[in-house]
């Protein structure tokens, strides 16, 4: 390549000689390049070339531009070629020479792959942004452009880059890892953007399927995608937890859904029928593999007796052919198929023998030992073939089957020796505990959390005693792509700290006038489903019974009752409320002319409100939140809907402390799960916040605002009202944006908050 040869000349020839050579080469290339441009663009392009050449970036960058940019004319148009110069210049300044040199070459590839002017502009804009925001990551992206654009459209590329920038924050090292695919997240989002079906897309469906089919709810986690193509991932079951690959490479659309489903049906069969672990003993690797293979066949055989339709699910994945070389992995695949597919004919003696032994009428399929016996024998036979078998590189086929590591007791783990119940039984027991738990809470929305709880139970004990077991991931909306990124932010429920519960009682005592007013309001407050009232003086319809009575009275000569109408009225209160408190660091600020912090006033206001709500018998819950990056959104349950507003709840409320940031959208997504399960006519989420949504890993001010707005809109679709009490001066803009004009109020005089909040509550619920 001429660029390298130019570079070579630096060291050999004196400087002025080099300069002359370079200039000469530039001129030749410019003359060639001009042919690509129409007349009116030639001056512009040569000007751009001259600018680059005289900007002091060295010789290589202008040469690269002059050489490659004319090719853009053919793919796109002259303007694209000319405009590229400014981006190259930017790259030379902000990144380094290598990136600037590479850019024109990559731009030609991009132009070829994106195929349209609009696509190319999107691509070059993203690169330009990247140069400005994360210059260190530009080179890795440019190097991989071909691979990326082969799979992603320019818009998907933009989303993937944005996902990277959003998830890595300001951390340069992580950015570089992400953009050079060294970070598993990167591949995950890449797949996501590419529209591959990933496990998380199907999670709920598949869990319900497993529950419906086998009545099992093992904790299921996703395995991050493997980076090396050699180690194809399989489902694995260990320590009672099922781990499912995020994606099965090569399976798209319906086929992808089928393979996940087939895999989980297989897992279910294991959990149901693989009751004991095999002892490793003196088995050779090939025998271990065979015993596992036979065990798979055995449990599938049993499962298909119970559910004949599973055959249609599993069979398409068995693609082994009865011919081909006699190498062990192929023979294993053929045996696998022979054991499930009745119509499959295989002339190989070993495969036939395996099939006959497996289906021998004396076999008791309920006894796993048959697999060990047959597997040992078949393994010996294979040994005599003198064929090579490398257990380390062998991957179980077909891909829906799990790696069978959970089937074996390797004897090296003390835990295993003590506990011979076997991993599958553990999982089933876990599942039992879970369902016991679930009966207490509202089951509908707890599925996820329950399994999560179990999974994290062990970890959390060691980690942080304050952390409760609930960890849930939520999507987050990115207004730049107009889409929600699944499983983006993570709620961790922490146990609130105890404060002085007498404090709440004292708050009520110091606000006696307010409390009396609240009590009066309580007596008159009414809100509910319409109820028909009979015997009314006025009303929108006649009350049949009253009319007949009145007529009878008339005929019998008595004075008829004039109350002959019926009407409808809301009589009982029927609403539930979730109060969501923002306890970010800014709530520690002192309020002017008072001795209290903002949080202090929030607590006072909430205490009075909680008094009113508990007196009204309105079901209510109080939660608080703050956040420390998307991976750690703190959520504190002060009071649940089903618990009493007792001294514990009051102590929790009194013990709140302001810290960290405000990731409002995620907290609302979590809060709504509880609210959704309330069977009341009206459901209200009351957010009390002192500042704009923000977090340490977000520097785009609109991002969290737009996310919160998205949540509010989705809540209104669920029939849940959201109302916000803003405590920050000048917050109209973003509150208006998030909640809508009518659904927020600003409390400017913060010392009046306690009185205002309760009044507001009555107004909202009247």
């Amino acid at each position: 390549m001429s660029t390298t040869s130019t570079r070579g000349k630096y060291s050999v020839f004196p400087q002025n000689k080099v300069n002359e050579d370079v200039k000469q080469e530039q001129q030749i290339l410019i003359q060639q390049g001009k042919k690509e441009f129409s007349k009116e663009y030639i001056p512009h392009w040569t000007l751009a070339c001259d600018k680059l050449a005289s900007a002091g970036y060295g010789a290589v960058i202008p040469l690269s531009y002059i050489r490659h940019s004319p090719k853009l004319v053919k793919h796109l148009n002259a303007e694209a070629a000319i405009n590229l110069a400014s981006v190259v210049s930017l790259a030379a300044i902000k990144v380094n020479r290598a990136a600037a040199e590479m850019l024109p070459k990559v731009a030609v590839i991009a132009a070829h792959d994106t195929k349209s002017m609009a696509g190319f502009i999107t691509w070059i804009n993203v690169i330009e942004e990247l140069i400005k925001i994360a210059p260190e990551s530009v080179l890795p992206v440019l190097e991989r452009t071909q691979k990326i654009l082969k799979t992603l459209t320019p818009d998907q590329f933009k989303s993937w880059v944005l996902a990277g920038l959003r998830s890595t924050g300001d951390d340069t090292l992580r950015q570089i890892q992400y953009f050079s695919f060294a970070d598993p997240e990167s591949e995950k989002w890449f797949r996501h953007e590419a529209g591959d079906i990933v496990y998380t897309d199907l999670e709920r469906k598949l869990k319900l399927y497993l529950l419906a089919l086998w009545n099992l709810q093992p904790p299921i986690r996703d395995l991050p995608p493997s980076l090396s193509p050699l180690s194809a991932r399989r489902i694995t079951i260990s320590n009672g937890v099922v781990q499912v690959p995020e994606v099965f490479t090569g399976y798209h659309g319906v086929k992808a859904e089928q393979i996940f489903r087939a895999g989980l049906a297989h897992v279910g069969a294991h959990l149901k029928y693989s009751k004991t672990k095999f002892k490793l003993g003196k088995l050779k690797p090939i025998q271990v593999t065979l015993v596992s293979l036979l065990e798979d066949a055995r449990i599938e055989h049993l499962a298909m007796q119970e559910y004949p339709g599973l055959r249609n699910l599993w069979l398409p994945f068995h693609e082994a052919k009865a011919d081909g070389p006699q190498i062990i992995p192929l023979l294993l695949a053929r045996l696998t198929r022979a054991l499930i597919d009745k119509d499959y004919h295989d002339g190989n003696g070993w495969v036939q023998k395996g099939r006959e032994m497996f289906f021998h009428p004396d076999n008791d399929f309920m006894d796993a030992n048959m697999c060990r016996r047959i597997g040992s024998l078949l393994g010996n036979d294979l040994g005599q073939l003198r064929a090579q078998f490398n257990a380390k590189t062998y991957v179980i086929e077909p891909p829906y089957r799990d790696d069978n590591m959970g089937l074996w007791d390797f004897g090296d783990n003390q835990e295993n020796e003590e506990d011979d119940k076997g991993i599958f039984i553990e999982a089933t027991q876990m599942n039992k505990e879970e369902s016991d738990d679930a009966t207490q809470d509202d089951k509908n929305n707890q599925e996820n959390e329950e399994t999560e709880k179990q999974y994290h139970a062990r970890e959390s004990e060691e980690k942080d005693r304050k952390q409760s077991n609930v960890i849930v991931r939520y999507p987050e909306y990115d207004y730049l792509t107009g889409e929600e990124r699944p499983n983006w932010s993570c709620i961790i429920e922490y146990f609130p700290e105890f404060g002085d519960s007498n404090k709440i009682a004292r708050i009520l005592e110091t606000h006696t006038d307010l409390v009396t007013r609240i009590t009066k309001l309580i007596q008159t407050a009414k809100v509910s489903l319409p109820e028909r009232l009979h015997y009314q003086n006025v009303g929108e319809s006649l009350d049949l019974d009253a009319c007949i009575n009145a007529s009878i009275n008339l005929r019998t000569g008595q004075i008829p009752d004039p109350r002959i109408y019926s009407t409808t009225e809301r009589k009982h209160r029927d609403l539930s409320v979730l109060v969501l408190l923002d306890i970010s660091n800014s709530t520690n600020d002192m309020v002017k002319n008072t001795q209290s912090s903002i949080l202090e006033l929030e607590i006072q206001a909430t205490a009075l409100l909680a008094y009113a709500m508990s007196e009204l018998n309105d079901p209510f819950a109080i939660s608080a939140f703050c956040s420390d990056s998307k991976e750690d959104v703190h959520y504190y349950r002060i009071k649940n809907f089903n618990s009493n507003y007792n001294s514990t709840a009051q102590a929790y409320l009194a013990g709140l402390r302001g810290k960290l940031s405000t990731r409002l959208g995620t907290a609302m997504r979590h809060g709504v799960k509880d609210l959704k399960s309330q069977h009341t006519h009206r459901r209200l989420m009351l957010v009390i916040s002192d500042g704009e949504p923000s977090d340490i890993d977000v520097d785009d001010r609109s991002y969290l605002v737009e996310d919160a707005r998205k949540v509010v809109r989705s809540l209104s679709r669920l029939g849940i009202d959201v109302f916000c009490v803003g405590l920050e001066k000048g917050a109209e803009n973003y509150l208006n944006r998030i909640f809508g004009r009518k659904n927020y109020t600003l409390v400017n005089n913060l010392s009046a908050l306690p009185a205002r909040l309760t009044n507001l509550y009555f107004r909202l619920t009247a």
């Binding site: 469906k205 319900l208 419906a212 599973l310 699910l313 009979h534 007949i548 007529s551």
Partner: protein, 265 residues
């Protein structure tokens, strides 16, 4: 009054799951008010019909709804050209003439409505018609039976404690697989194998109860599905129509159910 139109003339098909027939006979012998609990479509109404036939008593059924007033049960004055005439409600009719009065889904009725049965459900066994200024003594054959589905009503709708404590109760559930298969074959005419497959399918949906489904597929739904199969509809389609689509609007649950159904056949 002649209650012939209310009598159950031919034997309704009912396959006992336990000793509920003996229990009910004993309860009827002492005229104890009975409450039949259990999920929808498990055979409560059919059981009452069967018992009425077995005991050879007329059966008056009232389906309760939330706008039902006490007059709808007890009766009211009506007007005609010559004056006013009293018209007995279904409850009064049963009380006067010695029928079994079956109040279906009693919790749906307003609470003040269910209070009118109180005087009938203790040792007084009387019904007072305030408007008519009359006290009706219950006929010796009269018995009151209510049905009550604790599952799907919200917390807001529940029987008053004072009402609950006036009844003996029989708990119903979906029959055991073998019995259920027999019922399905009898009602729909499909073969036993299809019926068994349908029950396996029903168990799949019953596993999802509490995980997005309020109730699993009921025996009644299975009979519907079986009837479609008997009319020549393929099983998977019949299940979709009779078992999956009516029960939920949640796409994920539909998908899980349909896949589980595919696995069963």
């Amino acid at each position: 009054m002649n209650l012939d139109s209310y009598s159950v003339t031919s034997e309704p098909y009912y396959s006992p799951t336990h000793n509920e027939v003996e229990l009910f006979e004993a309860a009827y012998a002492c005229r104890m008010p009975m409450m039949l609990k259990g999920p929808t479509g498990c055979g409560k109404t059919r059981f009452v019909e069967y018992m009425a036939w077995k005991l050879k008593k007329p059966l008056i059924t009232v389906s309760c709804h939330e706008d039902m007033t006490a007059s709808d049960l007890v009766g009211r004055f009506l007007l005609d050209a010559n004056g006013t005439i009293w018209h007995d409600g279904p409850l009064t009719l049963a009380v006067r003439n010695g029928a079994i009065c079956y109040l279906d889904e009693i919790v749906e009725a307003r609470q003040d409505t269910s209070v009118v049965i109180h005087s009938l459900t203790d040792n007084r066994r009387i019904l007072s018609l305030e408007k008519k200024n009359e006290v009706v003594k219950a006929h010796p054959d009269f018995q009151i039976v209510i049905s009550y589905n604790p599952g799907y009503q919200s917390v807001l709708k529940d029987l008053k404690e004072s009402t609950k404590q006036r009844f003996g109760a029989i708990d119903f559930n979906y029959p055991k697989a073998d019995d259920e298969a027999k019922i399905i074959t009898h009602e729909s005419g499909v073969d036993l194998q299809t019926a068994t497959t349908l029950i396996k399918i029903a168990d799949r949906s019953r596993n999802l109860k509490g995980h997005g489904l309020d109730e699993g597929a009921s025996t009644r739904m299975l009979i519907y599905a079986a009837e479609l199969v008997a009319k020549g509809i393929p099983l998977a389609e019949a299940c979709e129509v009779a078992l999956v689509l009516p029960i939920t609007d949640d796409q994920d649950i539909r998908n899980a159910l349909s896949s589980a159904i595919a696995a069963c056949s």
